[in-house]
């Protein structure tokens, strides 16, 4: 394991302005919070000294790791192991010990199709519908998202007045909760909503945006792009700002056209960041749930039913719960995510190595 983790290509330090905010936060928290905390910290010091004398610094390392690793173990690693066992059992029982072992039957059922191009011929037609919807969603959403985020980043990277204001404009929806995002857009896209009120004066017919299949799907794509655009634009903007200015000055002196500058300088130098952003966006898109669920509830019919919602429905929400099947589906989805994450880590590490060479 290298000294620095691949998630952070360059060791990142919070900016200097943090100091002021930290001072503010400290003041706000004040004595009310720090006094009991300090008291508690002092109280556990004597027993810890004893522990340190008995076990040495190795024991202290174990002590510091214990709380976090215990939570990790019980709530992340253990479930992961159980998930595999779960996916090979059947029945509605919740606890593993009460469940009947069926081997790979759940996987077989998920993958049982007469014709893989037609979900309705599959034993689990909803799974294949969700899979097809998710695949289409991932392709369309990620490509549109990357294009708009790149355009936004390029524009924010220009010499603008009030740049931090414009940056805030695009970033603002990122912090909103998915439920709020879903509700805002449900309100705008409903039949008597703002969007229809705006298009009627233009001479267009009102559309039932969330009730017509294709429009609902487009709405799910549009709304998730609206919510995440600022996040990716920001990472790309950081990448753009890291490109040395003298390259552009040299190009200007040579009288290079803007389009050529973009294809020959900006894009190649932005590529490492672009790749990371694409994979991050892919990982998010495969798991799409919150915004789409609040917006359309998976409907109309199954037009916007995605994989995570399928797992949720099969495992928890439907009357005929089948946790084993849900576990099998989640493992298939997890496999895709693991591959994507490994690609991301590989790219980050390669970027890091290149960074060192410079």
């Amino acid at each position: 394991m290298p000294a620095s983790m691949p998630m952070w290509p360059r060791p990142w330090l919070p900016p200097a302005e943090t100091e002021g905010i930290v001072a503010q936060l400290k003041q706000m928290a004040g004595a009310v919070v720090t006094a009991p905390l300090g008291w508690a910290a002092r109280a556990i010091d004597p027993p810890l000294r004893l522990w340190q004398r008995l076990t040495g610094t190795g024991g202290m390392a174990a002590f510091f790791l214990l709380p976090n690793m215990a939570i990790f173990g019980v709530f992340v690693l253990l479930p992961l192991v159980i998930n595999f066992a779960y996916s090979m059992t059947t029945g509605g029982a919740l606890f593993l010990s009460d469940r009947e072992y069926v081997g790979a039957a759940q996987y077989a059922q998920l993958l049982d199709c007469d014709d893989y191009t037609d979900p309705s011929t599959c034993a689990q037609d909803q799974f294949w519908t969700a899979l097809a919807n998710t695949a289409l969603f991932v392709v369309l959403q990620v490509s549109l998202l990357i294009v708009t985020a790149t355009i936004t980043a390029l524009i924010l990277n220009r010499e603008l007045r009030a740049r931090s204001f414009w940056r805030a404009v695009f970033f603002f929806p990122v912090l909103l909760s998915p439920v709020v995002v879903g509700l805002i857009w449900r309100w705008i896209l409903q039949r008597d909503g703002l969007l229809n009120a705006m298009i009627i004066p233009m001479g267009l017919d009102p559309v039932n945006w969330l009730i017509e299949r294709n429009w609902a799907f487009a709405a799910a794509i549009g709304v998730t792009i609206w919510a995440h655009l600022g996040f990716y634009a920001l990472i790309l903007l950081a990448g753009l700002q890291a490109i040395p200015k003298d390259l552009y000055e040299a190009a200007e002196m040579d009288g290079t056209k803007p389009g050529r500058v973009f294809w020959r300088i900006t894009l190649p130098l932005l590529m490492p960041n672009l790749l990371v952003v694409i994979v991050l966006a892919l990982i998010r898109a495969v798991q799409v749930f919150d915004e789409a669920f609040v917006l359309t509830g998976g409907g109309p019919g199954t037009a916007t039913l995605f994989l995570t919602q399928y797992i949720y429905e099969v495992g928890f929400a439907s009357l005929l719960k089948n946790p084993g099947l849900a576990a099998a589906a989640s493992i298939l989805m997890g496999a895709v995510l693991v591959v994507l994450t490994l690609i991301q880590l590989a790219i980050s590490r390669r970027n890091e190595k290149k960074g060192k060479l410079k």
Binding site: V22, A41, V169, F316
Partner: protein, 349 residues
């Protein structure tokens, strides 16, 4: 106005306009409308009465009908501006039968006039339906949801900061066998988002009796790998000599962590704290699964439940959505620059 536009549209170089400048400002203008517009529309709609919300096409501002108390009638009557052969005048409506309204002149309440409803428009003024905000606090369990959300957010953030910083301290300042294995494990968990382990996690939560408990929402989310990485990265920059000096003075390891390393890590802790607050406040899928009783709903789950009811009461939902937005908007307004530099530097989300 012209000074504002001169300020916004002046280019730094002071050169003439190029087609790329047109594209730039077109995109920025479009961005302001599309990004801010929906939230603004939500806020304005949240102040409209149910009757106004049902109107189509909608008005931009919330309005309320003017009313008047007329002698001989118990309730205040709504006013309308009537225009017909008899001229334009303001009348109060007593009742409506089909397309005919029975109206009275407020000044002369004795005589009932019959008016075709096509000949009149409501007399309205800009007014805010504050009731949308007051009622959910009184009649719904909104206050309870708010309390639950605050509890989850605060407790989860505190636990996250404490456990993550302890682990990061061990991973950055100690040499011990298995350190790389621990780092690898943490790294591996980056690949396992919650949506992949929903079913088994649910069975574990049930087995330890945390189903329908806020602790069942809190615990699985606190051991964030991103938090450990962020803090470890920062702690690596703290010189080891500082720790050695403290050890010379017989400081215990706990004191070194608590009195030296933690205060020096404050900027990174602040970043993680802010992100944790936003994450936990916005969490939806996991609370949706763990919480099935109304008393333990968080705001996000409660809002979704209201919005999923057969008879959606938009006037309340819009107001509650605005309230749910407030903490995040406050965080955004005060710490925007700080968060954006944090994301740009670390890819944190």
């Amino acid at each position: 106005m012209s000074r504002v536009s001169a300020f916004l549209f002046r280019r730094r170089g002071g050169k003439g306009w190029h087609w790329t400048d047109v594209v730039t400002f077109g995109w920025l203008f479009f961005g302001v409308i599309v990004m801010f517009g929906p939230a603004l529309w939500l806020i304005m709609s949240s102040f409209k009465s149910p009757a106004q919300l049902a109107e189509f096409p909608p008005t931009a501002l919330p309005y309320e009908s003017r009313t008047v108390v007329v002698e001989g009638y118990d309730k205040p009557l709504p006013l309308f501006i009537v225009t017909d052969e008899a001229g334009t005048r303001t009348l109060a409506e007593v009742r409506r039968v089909g397309t005919t309204a029975q109206m009275v002149d407020p000044a002369n309440s004795g005589e009932i006039q019959r008016v075709n409803i096509a000949n009149r428009v409501p007399d309205r003024q800009v007014g805010f339906a504050w009731d949308n905000y007051v009622q959910p606090f009184l009649a719904f369990d909104f206050m309870l949801y708010l309390k639950n959300s605050v509890f989850v957010t605060v407790v989860a953030t505190l636990i996250t900061l404490l456990t993550n910083s302890m682990a990061a301290f061990a991973l950055s300042k100690y040499e011990f066998r298995g350190r790389n294995a621990v780092m690898l494990t943490v790294l591996a968990t980056l690949m396992i988002p919650l949506s992949v382990i929903l079913v088994p996690l649910y069975s574990i939560i049930s087995a330890v009796g945390l189903f329908n408990s806020l602790w069942g929402v809190i615990l699985p989310t606190v051991a964030t790998p991103t938090g450990i990485f962020l803090l470890r990265q920062y702690m690596l920059t703290i010189p080891d000599e500082l720790l050695e000096a403290a050890r010379m003075d017989h400081a215990s390891e706990w004191q070194i962590y608590w009195r030296i390393v933690l205060p020096l890590t404050a900027p990174a802790l602040a970043v993680l704290g802010i992100f944790s607050v936003v994450w936990r406040w916005n969490d939806f899928l996991w609370p949706l699964i763990v919480l099935s009783r109304k008393e333990v709903y968080t705001l996000q789950v409660g809002l979704n439940t209201y919005a999923g009811e057969l008879n959606v009461q938009w006037h309340f939902i819009l107001a509650m959505t605005v309230v749910t937005m407030i903490p995040v908007v406050i965080v955004f307004l005060f710490l925007q620059r700080f968060i954006t530099t944090g994301i740009a530097g670390s890819g944190l989300k």
